[in-house]
């Protein structure tokens, strides 16, 4: 190089042009551009510095919830009805996915090849989450992985950022489908629930009781959530545990339900359905209100709610079955109680004194024509010409004409329950409510328990409004009180209400609150809380209840309920056959079949109520109830 030296004069540089002298503009540009940067940094680091510092913290500190072990549920004998099962799920947190589309595709492809999740699915769901700016939230790509799948995923996820195995608490209901309606199920929070639950300290991914006992005893079963705050890097790797609070497991429940009895009754009802679509039975203690069996047929597998993704079709089939409504708890669903209501009419009439135990009526014809105040001729039917019967006979043989008389006073010189027909209806309603009808029993399961209807003149005026009703449809007629007296008209009740009412008659006037949970057990198995019988006293003289019990005993021993009789068992009961729906071509209407009773007569241990949506009480419900009594006495009673 030095060959050119200072004397080098390249020929291609012809002239030594004078350089320009003013470079201030350049110096200005330097100062200006760096000035811009300084201004920007003042804004970012000094003015908004605190803000960014906070964001930096949040960037890498991740709080992880430690979900508590949910309490278990046991049957009366201690048999477990539910198990906690971890549900393995493949999840993607979009935030942690690699930036490059190629790398993401590799992960999606792995999901497709190993777990059968289509690539397109993954792509759309990730894109959706990112669009809704929820990139930090895990998306469940596939739930209910098998153990093998979970292991493969656990191993593979280490070099696939964003993809991970998540274990969500789930439930295995092992008590059989018979318990589905009582136990209910747990499930993920809905958007509406989430808001409320967050205030109670629930984690977003924490399942919550949705129905039945799972829902009603949520607070006992849930336990207390724990958490750990962890520091993690941009790839989601855990670096440091900053703080941990362990979760407290939930309390367990012991039900009053008997495992074998519940299953036996469920099978029995299923087998006895015949042309009926649905059936229900309640077996309960008239002493404590404990429910031994609460069965609704048809039932379903509540494990289905734990795996809704996979069993969607099955769920849709259940939810859209308008014929049988399998998801509905029939034991808590209202329908016309028919002649079982006559027990209430009897109690009301004895109490009001318009009849006495010895008041007799000669039923000579099955039809009693009666001209109402609106000029309409009402044919009042009885199911047979009973001849002379007293109250006990009327209960035993379920005479309609006798209870028309007891309620509205027809054939008794118009001497009904009250001074006029409206008052009679109101008085009858009062006794019905006193015996637990017309409002929910308060049983401790969340199943949409229906209150049932006890009509009244006021009720009829209120309900019968609208363009489809004439003004005269809103009036309360004499015949309305008569029909109400035999559990028709608009009266409805649930099998559980009828069972409870029967229990009150059986135990001498204690209207018990039914319950299915006997004890709450701590995580160590010790009893934390026990349920005590709760009741209100029915305003009916025990002597009058005794008379009614005698009628019920006669019903089973010789009357309409005789098919419930079991050798060696002193059973008392009442049948019911309630007409419902429109008149058919043969002039008849469909009928619900009821039987409600208790045993043994002298010291009632158990109340059994059976309901079929189609059938005659004495023929269909009574024999089933008899078998349940038999099973209870042989297998359950201590």
């Amino acid at each position: 190089m030095s060959v050119f030296g200072d004397e080098f004069r390249p020929s291609s540089t012809p002239s030594r042009t004078r350089p320009h002298s003013n470079l201030a503009v350049l110096r200005l540009a330097v100062l200006l551009l760096f000035g811009v940067l300084v201004v920007r940094l003042v804004d970012m680091q000094i003015v908004k510095g605190d803000d960014y510092a906070r964001r930096s913290e949040n960037n890498h500190i991740v709080a992880t919830n430690i979900l508590p072990a949910r309490g278990l549920i046991y049957a009366r004998g201690g048999e477990p009805l539910v198990e906690n099962a971890g549900v393995y799920a493949a999840t993607i947190v979009p935030e942690f996915l690699p930036e490059k589309q190629d790398d993401r595709y590799r992960i999606y492809l792995w999901l497709e090849n190993n777990l059968g999740v289509p690539v397109l699915d993954s792509q759309t769901r990730v894109a959706e989450a990112e669009k809704n700016s929820r990139p930090g939230q895990a998306i469940v790509m596939k739930s209910h992985l098998s153990r093998e799948e979970a292991l493969v995923l656990e191993e593979a996820s280490t070099d696939m950022p964003g993809l991970s195995l998540r274990i969500v608490p789930g439930r295995d209901y092992i008590g059989g489908e018979a318990f589905a309606h009582v136990l209910g199920y747990i499930g993920p929070q809905t958007a509406e629930e989430a808001k409320l639950l967050r205030e109670k300290g629930y984690a977003f991914n924490e399942p919550v009781g949705k129905a039945g006992v799972e829902s009603r005893y949520e607070e006992e079963l849930r336990g207390e959530i724990g958490f750990s705050a962890n520091e993690q890097d941009a790839h989601g790797n855990l670096l440091n545990v900053l703080m941990t609070r362990n979760a407290t497991p939930g309390n367990s429940l012991r039900l009053s339900l008997d495992l074998d009895l519940q299953q036996y009754v469920a099978e029995l009802l299923e087998d006895s359905l015949g042309d009926a679509k649905v059936a229900a039975a309640v077996v309960m203690s008239p002493k404590t209100g404990e429910v031994y069996a609460l069965v609704s047929v048809p039932t379903y597998d509540n494990n289905l709610f734990g795996d809704l993704e996979r069993r969607q079709a099955e769920y849709v089939a259940l939810a859209t079955d308008d014929e049988r409504h399998p998801l509905l708890n029939q034991a808590l669903t209202e329908s016309a109680p028919g002649s079982t209501f006559k027990l209430i009419t009897a109690a009301a009439a004895l109490e009001e004194g318009n009849i006495t135990p010895s008041t007799s009526l000669n039923v000579t014809s099955t039809v009693l024509e009666f001209k109402g105040e609106n000029g309409v001729i009402y044919p009042l039917y009885d199911w047979r010409a009973h001849g002379w019967i007293d109250l006990i006979g009327a209960i035993a043989w379920s005479s309609n004409h006798y209870f028309y008389m007891a309620s509205c006073g027809i054939q008794n010189g118009g001497k009904g329950l009250g001074r006029n027909t409206e008052e009679s209806a109101v008085i009858l309603g009062y006794y019905a409510r006193a015996l637990g009808l017309g409002k929910a029993t308060g049983i401790d399961i969340d199943a949409g328990e229906m209150p049932g209807i006890i009509p009244s003149p006021e009720y009829k005026r209120r309900v019968h409004t609208g363009p489809e009703f004439n003004p005269e449809d809103r009036e309360w007629y004499y015949a309305d009180t008569c029909f109400m007296g035999i559990g028709q008209q608009d009266v409805t009740a649930t099998p559980l209400q009828i069972a409870r009412m029967t229990a009150a008659i059986a135990n001498g006037g204690k209207l018990l609150t039914p319950h299915v949970v006997s004890d709450v057990l701590g995580p160590d198995g010790a009893v934390v809380k026990s349920m005590h019988p709760e009741y209100t006293t029915v305003p009916v003289d025990p002597a009058n209840l005794e008379t009614i019990r005698l009628g019920m005993r006669a019903s089973v021993s010789q009357g309409a309920g005789s098919r419930a009789a079991q050798p060696g068992l002193d059973i008392a009961g009442k049948t019911g056959t309630a007409e419902f729906g429109p008149e058919k071509a043969n002039g008849k209407r469909d009928e619900h079949a009821w039987f409600t009773g208790f045993a043994p007569y002298n010291d009632p241990e158990v109340v059994v109520t059976v309901y079929f949506d189609l059938g005659v009480g004495g023929e269909k419900a009574a024999p089933v109830a008899g078998q349940i009594f038999r099973y209870f006495m042989d297998h359950v009673q201590p």
Partner: protein, 382 residues
């Protein structure tokens, strides 16, 4: 001013040491050391081998720096007229290299900018920038050192545009902006007619909307719009913007301390030793550290502008101006990206970012500037 030229022994291998700009040398060396410290901090999570290993990014960068310094001294000995003499040839090679890299280069982060030569990655645009500066200086010095003539101005555009376009296709938006800035700086100092510049400027802004629609790739449009609202796509294009914002902003006045920046150490920043090295600085050394950096750059640039001031001829002056614009714009764009006032584009921070190619080209440029200083006007007048 008198210089001891006559007294200087001619046998001394390194000539012009008395005129050599040591402040310029020291400033550039301090910037490199600053960079080494930051690379050390930013790479500590990904590299935990010994400091002396060649695989250690700090050691590599230090080695490149030493080589680059040697090249700088060598070039400072070379009369820059020798370089302007071959400017057309160098420029031609530069353009060919840019075409070649498009055809055969390695793709990284969606952009084809590199040749992988095994031990070192070469970025032809670094070389092309210097060649373009040399050619512009040569051209204007041959034409009265002057850009007053419209013809000369258009000719200078014809020199810059092909290189800028080729870089734009790679795509490397930032570097094409650097090309434009170099051109602008050179023609302004070369005395461009303001009217001409206004017309050209107007034409440029008239074409801009079409460029937005047709010439800019989706990713570029996205990066620009992300700048306006990074939270809209926090994971894709917005990720770097948000993470660098958080890093710089959370540094506050004095920073979190070296090796203590969570954003850096927990790897929330992408390429923290290269394009986002300023975010590391901002987070760990804070506003104070940034000011120190700015001061170093300003001193460096002022020394280069001084070189332009005292240059012996128009060619020397315009080269110095070009180099000043090159370093100024690279530094500005890189930092502007880091503080989210410029769309994300892969421009290294001169002297600091990890990468031998960039470091070497910077010191070559400084070597040329030193050559201009050694042969400055006062000296020539003696």
């Amino acid at each position: 001013m008198t210089f001891g030229y006559a007294a200087r022994p001619r046998t001394f291998a390194f000539r012009g040491w008395d005129r050599f700009d040591y402040l310029l040398l020291v400033t550039s060396a301090m910037l490199v050391v600053y960079g080494l410290v930051l690379i050390h901090s930013a790479s500590s999570t990904t590299f935990d081998g010994p400091l002396t290993s060649f695989a250690n990014p700090v050691a590599r960068q230090a080695l490149f720096a030493i080589i680059s310094l040697g090249i700088m001294f060598t070039i400072s000995q070379l009369d820059y007229h020798y370089l302007t003499h071959y400017a057309w040839l160098l420029y031609g090679i530069g353009i060919l290299a840019l075409i070649a890299v498009l055809l055969f280069g390695n793709e990284e982060y969606g952009s084809t900018r590199w040749f992988d030569l095994g031990i070192i990655q070469v970025q032809p645009s670094e070389f092309a920038k210097l060649a373009t500066i040399l050619l512009l200086a040569r051209y204007f010095s041959e034409h009265g050192g002057d850009a007053r003539e419209l013809r000369a101005l258009v000719m200078s555009l014809i020199i810059v545009v092909p290189a800028a376009l080729l870089v734009f296709i790679e795509p490397d938006l930032g570097t094409s902006v650097v090309f434009g800035a170099i051109w602008l700086g050179v023609v302004i100092i070369a005395g461009v007619n303001r009217g001409h510049l206004l017309v050209l400027g107007a034409a440029f802004f008239a074409v801009l909307p079409f460029a937005w629609t047709f010439a800019l790739d989706d990713y570029q449009v996205e990066r620009i719009s992300v700048l306006v609202n990074p939270d809209e796509s926090p994971l894709d294009a917005g990720y770097n913007v948000i993470q660098s914002q958080i890093a710089v902003g959370s540094g506050q006045i004095f920073g979190k301390g070296l090796m203590n920046g969570e954003q850096t150490q927990l790897r929330y920043l992408k390429v923290p030793t290269k394009d986002f090295i300023f975010s590391v600085l901002g987070e760990e050394l804070g506003f104070a550290g940034a000011l120190a950096l700015f001061l170093l750059f300003i001193v460096l640039l002022m020394r280069i502008i001084r070189a332009a001031q005292i240059a012996g001829d128009a060619a020397g002056q315009l080269i110095a101006v070009g180099v000043a614009m090159l370093i100024l714009m690279q530094a500005f764009i890189n930092i502007a990206v880091n503080v989210s006032i410029f769309p994300v584009t892969g421009i290294p921070l001169p002297f600091l970012s990890q990468g031998g190619s960039s470091l070497m080209s910077m010191f070559i440029a400084l070597g040329i500037v030193q050559s201009i200083i050694i042969r400055h006007r006062a000296y020539r007048q003696t």
